[in-house]
Amino acid sequence: MRVDVQALGTLNQLAHEGAQAAARALGQMTGIDAAVEVTRISLVDRVEAGEELGDEPFVGVRFEFEGALSGETALVFDREGAADVVDALVPGDAADDRMARSSVEEVGNIMMSGFIDGWADFLGATIDHTPPEYIERRGAAVLPASETGAHDQIFVFRSEVECLGDPVSFYIYMLPAYDPLADLMADHAAGEDAIPIEKLEVFNRMTRRGTEKAAENVETMTGIETTAEVTRTSFCPIEDVPKQVGNDTYVGTVVEFTGTPSGFLLVLFDEPSAVTVAEALMPMAPEGEGLTDRHRSAIEELGNILSSGFVDGWANVLQQSIDHTPPRLVHDMGRAIVDPLAAQLGQHQRHAFTVDSTMRTEDVAFECGIHALPDERQLREALDELLVERAEETEADVERIFGS
């Protein structure tokens, strides 16, 4: 498969409009006013698809579809969301489990028909689907098992829908089969600039290893046992980039990197994690509540080390020279941190690739997100020159570079 930016943009819009059709269907049936918050297309490791759902319980429907595009799709509500939907259809406490289940099934079926019909209309082709299967699972297990095959990384289309004035949110996941997606991508491609999928996969694996190494560094420096989770390369309209980060307050660092590619790298901790990690770096916890200047300078130092490791790792695999500025410390609303960076890229591009990794630990409140926003055209140039054979070499190189 060759991944074309214009085709990705078209598919993203298509998925977004499909999700809007599903949201409208929900509104017509239940009166719940829903809007699609964000749609993104991500390339992820097959085993990590849906990890962002955590261990929460979800209910919904899923089914297979076949035609101009084939694959599997799922619509899932969190538990409260499902309860609200059931309440809208069967008010009061009248609904028993069986009725609740059939309500979710009915709503899910109609919403997803809207989703699939939207795709079919756009493609001017037929897409058939199997009857919906009701599901009730925790976390990523709600997602359909993607086709097994030669590829260990898969494209996942994900729309997040928020219901206004209601705590209901739901997600639509679509996991297309490889070959039909490749054909569709080729049909909607603009030209010669497409990226061979293998190169994106190498890039993803490389970032993954970089995150693992970064997690080891954090562990060595702080003594907090840290693991790398979810690494994904996503694609979305530039104005949706800030929505990839939550609206809570974050503490961290931002650097601009220059070379091929240029762009921005963010290392962000939620506030409790920032306090935890900063104090683990200090010989003694400082007096006073919350984040002090000493916490901030510890975060700045850690951000610098993690950023350098990342940027050097990329430079090494891409065989490019990439420099970065000293880190700027940030402590603000997540989206407000990302917004000026997206705006700076948005002067030259309509869509963006974002590379997102997460590190976390089981024992204490600790989560760190590493987000890269490369210039889209320059990333394509860099990947164009990347030799896939170097995938084998990266492991040793990553060791050397991140391993200090």
């Binding site: 206004l164 940030v330 990302v338 917004d339 309509r350």
Partner: protein, 173 residues
Amino acid sequence: MKVYDGSRTDETAGTDPERVKVGIAEYEVTTDGAHLTTSGLGSCIGVGLVDAASGVAGLVHVMLPSAEEVDDDNPAKFADSGTELLVAEMERQGADVSSLRAKIAGGSDMLDFSDSGASIGARNADQVRETLGDHGIPIVGEDVGGDHGRSLRLEAATGDLVVKSANEPDRRL
């Protein structure tokens, strides 16, 4: 995440105004006193317009200064075309342009890495002022610039624009 959950107690019992979210590069107009909210403004700007006489209010969340600089088909993304679009839509829904009053917030200089010239935040603010000026719409409140993010709530019934920041007290414009 709900940014303004805490505000509901401000309202008279049982008559919470509807809350309408405005995303980046989007706008909304209300004729029934809704609260229009938008979150996470960095260099972006929120432009709130109110025509008290007709009760029409609108909010647009723009990202970049001028539609002429970028090939894009979403006018709500830009300070010039986004403001124009909001004025036109409010007029269509019964607002009198000569009665419109503007309140603006955002346009922070935070994380601007450009080597020279004005930041995107400052250019966004300049463009919004120019476009509002072209329509003769006075700016009666503003909280622009600085180096921090903001979230906004335009209360259509009163015309108040409430500005929230991560590390500073709320402001009511």
